[in-house]
Amino acid sequence: MDHLNAVKEPAAASARVRKWKEERLAKDHERIPPRQEEFKTLSGLEIDDVYTEEDVKDIDPVEDIGLPGEYPFTRGPHASMYRGRPWTIRQVAGFGQAEDTNNRYKYLLAHGETGLSTDFDLPTLLGFDSDHPEYRREIGKIGVAVDTVVDFHALFDGIPLEEVSTSLTINASAAILLAMYRVVGDERGISGSQLTGTTQNDILKEYTAQNEFIFPPAKAAELVVDTMEYGAQVMPRFNPLNACGYHIRDAGATAVQEVGLTVSAALCYLELAQQRGIHPDTLAPRVSFFWDVHNDFLEEVAKLRAARRLWARLTRERLKCRDPRSWLMRAHCQTAGVSLTAQQPLNNVARTAIQALASVLGGTQSLHTNSLDEAFAIPSEEAIKVAVRTQQIILEESGAGDVVDPLAGSYYVESLTSQIEEEASELIGRIDEMGGMIAAVENGYANQLIADSAWEHQLSLERGERTIVGVNDFIDDDRSTGGIELFKLDPGVGERQMKRLAEVKRSREEARVAKALRELESVAGDLHHNRMPLIEEAVRARATVGEICDVLRSVWGEYQPSTVF
């Protein structure tokens, strides 16, 4: 007992660890020098040889770590976590026409997927119709083509929307697709309150990372607030905003920047809503998050834990939220697309499994595992099945989901959790000083931050400081795809989609479309007039994504892409 007490005494512990480093560890290193000059996490955080009670002495087990399902939610948003409900297996799917993607949904559901997720093609993402003369070559290529609510009906045909939650990866035109989802439900007799899912809709990260924007940032952010308010009123179980670190990270940011920039954006929308007189407690419970889980296993676990604690503290202390649901960060994770290699693609299965395990140990609510062939193309059925099975193996075989937050109390994980929280918090402070996330987008700060990190990463690879198996070490002479069969899109998709659009335009009531678009135009410039009911009416009238976006373009203008590099 005396011995244990002595260990808990900080000064004694410090002396003990110092002695160990100077004598025991130094002796080992004399014999076997460290294999690297310095050790850093993938995000560049310096890491020590070993972590001890010294490193967690400022972390309060109650205030900072707490218990699962309780403030500050470091250990998870729910008390029972996966012992109750497992995370949702949610693989993103989207290509070709709505029917093609609908078939892929059914394939995934038949193989154990438990939630849907949709990728849209570039014209849909950027508010152009399939008959736009410039962009026909992009129809259905990287996602499903959607022009009108007629496509949405086909997309969800035979899918019980009252039972399955759906994630829509859509941003610049998210308001229109959110309305489409509601209208599809309504026209099928499913009420808004039965619909669950998310629209991605975090437009600010588009300007800094994913680059699928239309309107200037300040206008587009107001449209996000419209959707959040609309969601709270007519689809109260749906998350209109899914604040995204994923694209920021894939574009090159570090884990700290991913958390800092994403949380800054989420705060921005809620604070814009506050300026309209909407209390954050009305909207925050339906804000969800989306993280990119990369290769550095323990850093990713720490990141997810840090992000939850940071969000809990900011919503409670800064936004003065009183509803505990506002403090909860619920998150979807996806394994890092940027980590997939075109070289030796079967190795991607191992990478994805490690990243998926980190997502689970970090406490995600929903997970997409990348397919081994996604460095090349839309995944094949075979490849996506392995990705789904990877999640099932983690859940059913590994035991990782059987204890809640099993890494809590690890000196290293807790120390890293605190470090990421602190550094992300500092970044949020810097962004606040320059006027918030919209300013950090407009002045190029966020773009430069991400570009600099991407550049540093590239240099570390080229200097050989970092190894990527199969890319800069353990290279095979054979540069082929290793015999994997790549998915090929049917080249007739574009023609068929344009034909369908022409049919919809022929059969709809033009006067109703024109009236809806005229009314939208008349209020588009008024900040305090929620545009969603008018967008919903336009969608019901079978107006197209392009027509609705054109109205908003005519009032708001378009944003010019950054040429920062």
Binding site: L122, E206, N211, A251, A342, R479, F565
Partner: protein, 144 residues
């Protein structure tokens, strides 16, 4: 063997246009390559995203570029690169070293080279290899 000509004070810098065609927003690779070429002493213009083949050709002509680097990750690389080959030919700018980067399957890369693309660089390429390729290629074309 290379790299020396680039740092020689009398040689004017090599002019490069780095371009993103169509609606594809994945520009991490384009920006990293642009930066590496600038650091190697070249004069680099990055067009930003959302360019058309016509706007890219205009940039090449306006900048009097010797090199065009096209980056595409949306699966539409064949159409855009083929259009640009035609435009460069029609405008007597076949002298331009036309490089394509992105996740380009091998059979597509072979086809692109047949229609006039000078070289295709896939994922995992070292920026140093691109720099050396450009220095050699521009040198050869100047000597020709």
């Amino acid at each position: 063997m290379t790299g020396s000509s680039i740092s020689s004070p009398q040689a004017p810098p090599i002019k490069v246009v780095v371009a993103k065609p169509g609606l594809d927003g994945h520009d991490r690779g384009a920006k990293v390559v642009a930066r590496s070429l600038r650091d190697a002493g070249m004069e680099v213009v990055y067009t930003g995203i959302f360019q058309t083949p016509e706007s890219i050709l205009r940039a090449v002509i306006q900048e009097d570029a010797q090199v065009l680097g096209l980056s595409s990750l949306s699966g539409a690389h064949m159409e855009y690169a083929e259009d640009l080959c035609t435009l460069l030919r029609e405008n007597d700018r076949e002298d331009v070293l036309f490089l394509v980067g992105g996740t380009i399957p091998e059979e597509d890369a072979a086809q692109l080279k047949r229609v006039g693309v000078t070289e295709v660089f896939g994922p995992g390429t070292r920026t140093e290899d691109i720099i050396n390729y450009i220095v050699d290629g521009v040198g050869e074309r100047a000597d020709a």
